[in-house]
């Protein structure tokens, strides 16, 4: 399983378990705020779970531009590659 796929699975599990997002709604094109009904507090929680997963400190600014699951995965991947 490549990194992107692994990140996707991790994000999906978090969304389903912590934020009651229906599993079938989680796809790359889905927007976090509109399609998946997350709010800014959820976004912070989500960043914390990704922080635990990547073992890297995340600057919330680097995730400011994130709109979709795809964006989220790319931002996370970049973070893991950067060191």
């Amino acid at each position: 399983m490549d990194t992107k796929q692994a990140i996707f699975e991790h994000v999906k599990t978090a969304l389903v378990d912590k934020f009651e997002v229906p599993a079938e709604a989680v796809c790359l094109e889905a927007t976090l705020y509109e399609d998946l009904d997350l709010d800014s507090i959820d976004a912070v929680d989500l960043i914390i779970t990704l922080q635990d997963y990547t073992k890297k400190k995340i600057q919330p600014e680097s995730f400011k531009q994130v709109r979709t699951i795809q964006d989220l995965i790319e931002a996370t991947q970049q973070l893991m590659d950067n060191s």
Binding site: K18, E20, I41, V44, D45
Partner: protein, 265 residues
């Protein structure tokens, strides 16, 4: 019998009186901020003392403003269990948000309450000192807002929040956002449910100020349960799930108009 022309006269009178009310709120607010406000703070030594005095002054001013609107015939008002609000401490007060006057009405009965205020007021030269001294919370960023709200509740202050985040669309069911529930759960405080209604609908999101209703506005403020939120926190579920449960519960109470379930504590 009331004649038609009399009804017309009353209608136009209420447009004028409503306009006067808006002007008075602006000018009176400025007068209080610039003249009375510095005066009452002279003897207040600590930051906490100044906060209490400022909040009490704002509450009294709002009470006076509402009494003027009542005597001008702009609105009538009935309340239920309203005295409960005065004794509350260290709790979150929530309400639905049908009109522009809701915050003024509620604060007029809450001598000691924090509330969330637009960030723009912190840059307003006249009101900056008032919102600062009263210790109100700015809505600058969501993260900061959450922290500030939790912090003030933990220090034993009351906090007024409209969980819808904006005024209710008339005739539509209330849609609660999850911020209020998140704050209450994180601060581990009880939530006081207050229900506001305005009949006929006016001063809502879809009315201009001069669109006064055919009949005089009648406000009802019902003070309901003081809900312990600790029951919503479970060992096995994350806070994000608890906040969803609490939000759903509160939204249901308001949609069904049932803010009072138990004899009020």
């Amino acid at each position: 019998m009331i004649s038609k022309s009399h009804l017309n006269l009353n209608y136009y009178w209420r447009i004028v009186a409503t306009g006067f009310g808006f002007a008075l709120f602006g000018i009176g607010g400025l007068f209080i901020a610039l003249v009375i406000f510095p005066f009452i703070l002279v003897n207040a030594k600590s930051k906490d003392q100044r906060k209490l005095k400022a909040q009490a002054l704002i509450s009294k001013s709002f009470r006076f403003f509402i009494s003027i609107l009542r005597s001008l015939g702009v609105l009538t008002l009935t309340t239920a269990n309203i005295e409960k609000l005065k004794s509350d401490s260290g709790i979150m007060v929530i309400a639905n948000h049908p009109t522009l006057l809701d915050v003024v009405l509620l604060i007029s009965y809450l001598p000691r309450v924090d509330c969330v205020v637009k960030e723009a007021l912190w840059h307003n030269p006249f009101l900056k000192r008032v919102v600062q001294t009263a210790g109100y919370i700015s809505n600058s960023t969501p993260e900061q807002l959450l922290d500030d709200c939790v912090d003030t509740l933990k220090r034993g202050n009351n906090l007024l929040i409209f969980p819808e985040g904006t005024r209710t669309e008339p005739g539509k069911p209330e849609v609660f956002r999850r911020g209020a529930a998140n704050i209450a759960l994180r601060a581990q405080v009880a939530v006081r449910l207050v229900y506001i209604s305005c009949q006929p609908s006016a001063l809502s999101k879809s009315h201009r100020w001069y669109q006064v209703p055919k009949r005089k506005m009648h406000f009802t403020i019902k003070v309901g349960d003081c809900l312990e939120t600790s029951n919503f926190i479970t060992k096995n579920e994350p806070l994000s799930i608890s906040a969803r449960r609490l939000t759903q519960y509160l939204q249901k109470c308001y949609r069904q108009g049932e803010v009072l379930h138990e004899s009020v504590a």
